[in-house]
Amino acid sequence: MNPSLTLGPNLFHWPAEQRIDFYSRIADESPVSTVYLGEVICSKRTPFFDDVHLPAVAERLERAGKTVVYSSFSEVVIKRERNILMEWSKQEGRDLEVNNTAALLHLKDRPHRIGGLLNVYNEDTMAYLAGQGTTHFSLLPELPRAAIARLGEKARELGVGVEVQVFGRASLALSARCYHARAHERTKDNCQFVCGDDPDGMTLMTMDEKPFLTINGIQTLSYGYLDLMADIDDMRAIGVTHFRVMPHTCDMIAVTRAFDDVLAGRIDVAEGEAKLRELGIEAPFVNGFYRGRAGHDWVPRVAEMA
C-alpha cells in the first residue's frame, strides 16, 4: 500500500449497491492508502448512500488498513446543506475535507483538510489556513506547475500535506443550477435523479459534434481525463506529497495499481501509461493545466523537453 496514493470522493450518483461493491473491491484489492468518502456535489443524493451506508463502508475500508476522510459539500446554500455540513464539522475522530468556506467557521483550530474544490491559489492563503488547523491541501486542478512548486515549498515549511489530482475528469465549474435536470427539461427540485443515468457524467458536445465537457448535476467537468503519471517524479521533487485518483467506472483497481507501480518504481511511466490506455476510456487524456497550457491539451513530456 502506497502512503502517497489516494482515492478522491466519488463525484457521481451511482446506485448504493454499486458503490458498496466498488469500495469493497477498493478495500480488498487497491493499493491506495487513503479513501475520501462523502457526497460533494448534491445534497439531494445523500439519502441514497451517505445517510445509510457511509459508516459501514468507512469501517470496511478502515479494517483493510485505509485511512478514511470524509469529504463535504462544495455548494452550501439551503438549510439542509448547512445543517449536514455543521454536523460533519463537529464530528470527532476523523478528518473532514472542506470544499466550502462555510465549514471553516466551526473548524478553527481543529485539524481538517482543504479539498480540491476550495480556492487555495497561493502560499499566503495556504499559510493562513494552516495557521487555523488545515493539515493537508488538495489543490485545484487548474493550477500550473509554477504555482504548485511555490505551494509545495510553503507546505514543506508549514509541515502540511499537498495532494494533486493525477487521474480522472477535472472539475471545472460549479453552479446552483442543475444542468443534468436542465438537459432533461426539469429543474433541480424535480430532477428525478437523472444524473444517475450517467455514472461518469453526461457528455456535452459542440454543435459540430465534438465532445467538449461533462455534466454532473451542478458540476461541469472536463471531457478529457487528467493523466499526470509522467509528472509524478517532478511533482515529488517540488513538494507534492499525495497523488489523487478520482473514481470512474473504468477498472479502478487497474488504475490505482498502475499508479502504485509507477510510484514504487516497479514499472516505468511508459508502461504505466500504456496500462491506462488499455482501460477502454473513450475520452482523451489531458495534462495541459499542469503544463501551464489550456487544460484540454495533451502535451507529451518528450515534446516538452525537446
Binding site: L140, A173, T203, A294, H296
Partner: protein, 335 residues
C-alpha cells in the same frame, strides 16, 4: 416594519469616462479596477492606470460618490506581491473600499490597513450565513456581494443572520456558474478567470461563416455556438453557448440562454428585505450605456423611497432586445 434603508447604487466603471458618467448620473458608488490580473474584468482597453485612478477618485469624491476598487481575482502562488501593491496603491489613493475574493488579499488589508473597508467579492462565492460569518470574523468584512443564486426570501432570511451589509446584483450580465469557481475558460484557452481575470478572451474568439449562411462562434478549438442566418451572434462565453447531448434533439443552451438580469420589478421587495446596496454589472459597457442605466436606476430607487411608482420602461429599452430574467431572485425553480 423597520424604517426602510435606502440602498446605495453601485455602478460599473470600466474606464475613466464611464466613471465620470456614472458619477454624473447619480451613482452612490462606482467600482473599477487596474489594468492587470488583479481584477476580474482584465480585458483589453478597459480599466485604470494608477494616474487615471487617482484623478478618477478625486472626481468621484468631489461628486459625493464612493470608489470601490476591484481586487477580486485570486493571485496564483508566486505572484501575490502584485495584489499587495495594488492594495497599497488603493489605500494611498483614498479608495473607499477594496472588493476582494482571496483570503491572502483580505488578510493583507486587515493587517496593513485596518481602516480600509473590505467588501467580499461575489467571486468568493459566500452563499451561506456560515461562509459570510467566517469572512466577517477573520477579516472584518463590512459587506458581502451575494452570489446571483438566491431568492429574495432567502436574502431576507440571510440578512437576519449575518453581521454585515449585503449587496445584490440587479442588472446586467447574468452568469450561471458560481463566480470564482469556474475554470472553463482556462480549460479551453490556457487563460484563467480566477488567476488572470480572463473570461472568453477576445484574442481566442473567432467567427466563421459557412456556405449556408450560418455563423459559428469558436473559442480556442471549440465551437461554442452556431447561429442561423436570421440570428444575431452574441459575445461567446462558454456558459451561454449551445451544445448537444443525448437527452436532446439538436442544440440547446446547456447552461443558460444569452439573457440579461433585470431585477427592476423586484426593487421594492429587495429594499423591503433590507438589502444595503444594488449592483449594476457592466464594466465592459460603453459610457453611454452606463449613463442611461445609472440614471434610470437612480430615478427608480429614489421614486420607491419616496413612495412613488418608479418608471422602468427606459430599462427595458436598454437590454437591447435581449431576453430578460429576474434570475434567481423570484423563484428557486430557476435552479
Amino acid at each position: 416594519m423597520n424604517a426602510m434603508v435606502k440602498p446605495e447604487l453601485i455602478c460599473p466603471a470600466g474606464t475613466p469616462a464611464a466613471l465620470r458618467s456614472a458619477v454624473d448620473a447619480g451613482a452612490d458608488a462606482v467600482y473599477c479596477g487596474y489594468q492587470n490580473a488583479t481584477n476580474a474584468r482584465n480585458f483589453v482597453g478597459l480599466n485604470f492606470t494608477p494616474e487615471e485612478m487617482e484623478k478618477s477618485i478625486r472626481y468621484a469624491h468631489d461628486g459625493g460618490t464612493k470608489v470601490l476598487i476591484t481586487l477580486n481575482t485570486f493571485p496564483p502562488a508566486g505572484k501575490v506581491e502584485l495584489w499587495k501593491e495594488m492594495v497599497d496603491l488603493s489605500a494611498r489613493l483614498g479608495a473607499d473600499a477594496c472588493i476582494v475574493a482571496d483570503i491572502a488579499v483580505a488578510a493583507y488589508i486587515r493587517d496593513t490597513y485596518p481602516d480600509l473597508r473590505i467588501h467580499l467579492s461575489v467571486q468568493a462565492a459566500a452563499s451561506s450565513p456560515e461562509a459570510i460569518e467566517y469572512y466577517v470574523r477573520e477579516f472584518g468584512v463590512k459587506r458581502v456581494v451575494l452570489p446571483r443564486i438566491m431568492t429574495v426570501s432567502e436574502i431576507r432570511g440571510l440578512l437576519k443572520e449575518i453581521p454585515c451589509e449585503v449587496e445584490t446584483f440587479i442588472f446586467g450580465n447574468h452568469g450561471l456558474m458560481v463566480e470564482g469557481r469556474c475554470s472553463l475558460t482556462n480549460y479551453v484557452t490556457g487563460q484563467s478567470t480566477n488567476m488572470d481575470g480572463a473570461c472568453s478572451p477576445a484574442a481566442c474568439v473567432k467567427y466563421e461563416r459557412a456556405d449556408d449562411g450560418s455563423m459559428s462562434t469558436i473559442l480556442g478549438d471549440y465551437m461554442i455556438d452556431r447561429f442561423g442566418p436570421e440570428e444575431t451572434a452574441g459575445y461567446p462565453t462558454i456558459c451561454k453557448g449551445r451544445y448537444k447531448c443525448d437527452a436532446r434533439d439538436g442544440g440547446y443552451y446547456a447552461f443558460e440562454e444569452p439573457i440579461s438580469l433585470n431585477a427592476s420589478t423586484m426593487l421594492p421587495d429587495l429594499i423591503n428585505a433590507g438589502v444595503h446596496a444594488f449592483k449594476i454589472e457592466g464594466r465592459q459597457r460603453s459610457r453611454a450605456y452606463v449613463k442611461k442605466v445609472v440614471a434610470a436606476f437612480r430615478e427608480a430607487v429614489d421614486s420607491i423611497m419616496a413612495g412613488q411608482e418608479p418608471k422602468l420602461a427606459d430599462l427595458v429599452a436598454l437590454t437591447e432586445g435581449q431576453k430578460q430574467t429576474e434570475g434567481a431572485l423570484k423563484t428557486k425553480k430557476w435552479r
